[in-house]
């Protein structure tokens, strides 16, 4: 590969990132202009750092599924199931025992392990259906999403589970050296996934499989296994998002975050992920996340109803699709 083509490739990718930064600045300027006194407050940005991470982690999970040309429609189901399972566990062990700090910490740790474990298992099921039974990702995860949400309904009987221990609350509402805990977690997760995708064999394999599955198989990549791992990673990340969500709201319910599915897809696509596979960067997804959080927080301050904000998210997705299409025909 010649130097100029490498340069062009990097430039091409950077152009996408530059475009995203431009959109973010535009949104920021627009919202500051529309709500001069309320938008530019420290409190507003602080609350964004609490709400943003769960959605951001779901979007990164969605991006990983899209890297191999798939999609995971069960992420929200996994997230809720993870939170609910932990909640059920706390209800069964903590009630009636002494509330010493050590025990609470132990139970919190166990709860996290259980939540993440169910995420891995759910991802394993998705990966198995997709890579071994060769079910299309859309239908496989549509079905498993129903199963996970359904199990969540069975576990709770419908209403929300409340009463998580303090340690759990800290994950969603606490602060580490003045920064929101969920935000710290998001930065750690995003960094880890970025390294995993760009600096490890696993990540490079995923990109290659997504670019050309047939060539990847002929080149000797273990495609099925890599796809299985990628869905396990997606499930694990969805469970992390579920832990943060239930920690922030101090509750878990089978139909929390229903609109997150569309938003996660939107952020992944807006962040430059190609839903047909082979392309996607954590950095792009993160910037897209910030742009959309600023947008929705601004509209909330303007007292737009949640329905209209849903409309704006959907409209944004369609506009992004149109823009991407025009950009691709340019080349």
């Amino acid at each position: 590969m010649s130097d100029s083509s490498i340069a062009k490739r990097i430039l091409g990718q950077d152009r996408n990132i530059l475009q995203l930064i431009a959109i973010t600045i535009l949104v920021f300027a627009l919202m500051s202009w529309l709500n001069p006194d309320k938008f530019l407050r420290y409190y507003n940005f602080e609350s964004i750092t609490y709400i943003m991470p769960e959605l951001g982690i779901l979007a990164i999970a969605m991006m990983i599924a899209m890297l191999t040309g798939g999609i995971d429609l069960s992420v929200v189901g996994i997230a809720n199931l993870a939170g609910i399972l932990a909640g059920v566990f706390f209800h069964s062990v903590i009630v009636g025992t002494d509330q010493s700090t050590g025990m609470i910490l132990l139970y919190t740790g166990l709860g996290i392990l259980m939540a993440l474990g169910i995420g891995l298992l759910a991802g394993l099921l998705n990966g198995f259906l997709i890579s071994k039974l060769r079910i299309t990702p859309i239908l496989a995860t549509l079905g498993t999403g129903q199963i996970f949400t359904g199990l969540a309904v069975v576990l709770t009987g419908g209403p929300a589970i409340t009463g998580f221990p303090d340690g759990w609350n800290f994950i969603g509402n606490g602060k580490i050296i003045g920064v929101a805990t969920p935000f710290v977690l998001f930065v750690i997760v995003a960094g880890a996934v970025a390294v995993l995708l760009t600096r490890t064999t696993f990540g490079v394999n995923l990109m290659l499989i997504g670019t050309n599955p047939k060539a990847a198989v002929f080149a000797g990549l273990r495609k099925d296994r890599m796809i299985l791992y990628s869905y396990m990673l997606t499930g694990l990340l969805a469970a992390v998002a579920g832990v943060i969500l239930s920690g922030r709201t101090n509750a878990a319910k089978s139909d929390y975050g229903a609109s997150y599915l569309l938003q996660a897809v939107l952020i992944a696509v807006l962040g430059g992920t190609n839903p047909a596979g082979g392309k996607g960067r954590v950095l792009g997804v993160s910037i897209a996340l910030i742009a959309l959080m600023l947008l929705s927080s601004g509209f909330q301050i303007l007292r737009f109803s949640n329905h209209l904000i849903d409309f704006i998210w959907g409209g944004f997705l369609l506009i992004v699709i149109a823009l991407n299409a025009f950009r691709n025909t340019d080349r």
Binding site: L142, I147, G150, L262, V265, S305, G315, L318, I321, A322
Partner: protein, 325 residues
């Protein structure tokens, strides 16, 4: 003996076995009351499934049609109340046209920007629902306000009977509309150029284009057809349950897609039949409704639907793989 290898035959056999099993667990399944009720529950999901079938044969998927259905239903009923209109035919035409126009929007995005139908329809569905709830309103039009002529229309029964306990029940005439639409869909899929072009496009889009099909027209037809049927089914649902609820049909698209997949259609396109879809719809409705008479807790409904989707897709995936070898 090709008839035994056709997926419709397999589905029909599974359906019969399931009916016998459910009947053994609870003989009440075979009561005329229950059977009529089951057929009635087939109408709305079935009409929508015909639209989704056509989309899936073209190799696409649509998750926005329930939003279109609810928009068509709510806007039409609101319009009828506003103008004090008292007919039946015109509202259904209007609802169908609303769905058709929204479907054209889908086709425009999918064709012009060559984007994956799932993502486009996620977007359009969210746009339509958001606009409807945000701008038009969230209040339910209840039976006291609901146009009576719509209710009376949907009340028409083919057969009336009285059960042992003295309650009246009947077989709704709406089933004829459903079966009529199914017949029309079957005929045009089989015997018209546009129908064949949908199969051709779903099987191999590039090949369809090279042999001279106007693929833009095909896609436009497919998504408009799905939208129109959804719009019609939306208003019919409102008439049958005697209320227009702008939040209706949330998550219902999964049931419809499950029914179509259960009926043997392939998401890769090029495969699927109306008869299979009719059977798939009946199977899904029957299993969901029978959970109650089999005394399974209703909280398990979603799990069962999920297992059905995964099971049916696993079976079709296995079938399609065998064909490839």
């Amino acid at each position: 003996m090709t008839i035994f290898r056709r997926s419709e035959t397999i589905i029909a056999v599974i359906l019969l076995v399931a009916m016998v099993l459910i009947g053994l667990i609870n003989p009440a399944f075979w009561s005329l009351d229950n059977i009529f009720g089951l057929l009635r529950s087939n109408v709305i999901i079935g009409i929508m499934a015909l639209g989704v079938l056509v989309v899936m044969i073209s190799g696409g998927i649509d998750v926005s049609f329930t939003a279109f259905a609810v928009a068509a239903m709510y806007l039409t009923v609101k319009g009828m109340l506003y103008f004090g209109y008292e007919g039946v035919l015109l509202p259904f035409v209007v609802a169908t046209l609303i769905g058709l126009a929204l479907g054209a929007f889908n086709a425009f995005f999918i064709h012009t920007f060559r984007m994956i139908p799932l993502i486009v329809t996620l977007g359009t569905g969210s746009v339509v629902r958001g606009l409807l709830l945000g701008l038009v309103g969230t209040s339910i039009v209840n039976i006291d306000k609901m146009p009576p002529q719509l209710i009376n229309f949907a009340k028409v029964n083919l057969v009336n009977s009285t059960s042992a306990t003295g309650t009246n029940f009947g077989l709704t005439a709406m089933i004829l509309i459903y079966l009529g639409l199914a017949l029309v869909t079957h005929l045009f899929l089989r015997y018209t150029m546009i129908g064949r072009s949908i199969f051709a496009y779903g099987g191999a889009p590039e090949a369809a284009k090279r042999v001279g099909f106007d693929t833009r027209k095909t896609l436009l037809f497919v998504y408009c057809f799905a939208g129109a049927l959804a719009g019609f089914a939306g208003l019919l649902q409102g008439s049958m349950i005697w209320q227009a609820n702008p939040r209706d049909f949330a998550g219902f698209e999964l049931d419809v897609i499950a029914a179509v997949v259960l009926g043997g259609a392939s998401i890769f396109g090029g495969r699927g039949s109306v008869i299979g879809t009719l059977l798939g719809v009946f199977m899904l409705v029957m299993v969901k409704n029978s959970l109650i008479i089999m005394k399974v807790d209703t909280t398990w409904q979603r799990v069962v639907v999920g297992v059905i989707i995964v099971g049916a897709t696993a079976l079709t995936a296995w079938r399609d793989r065998k064909k490839l070898v």
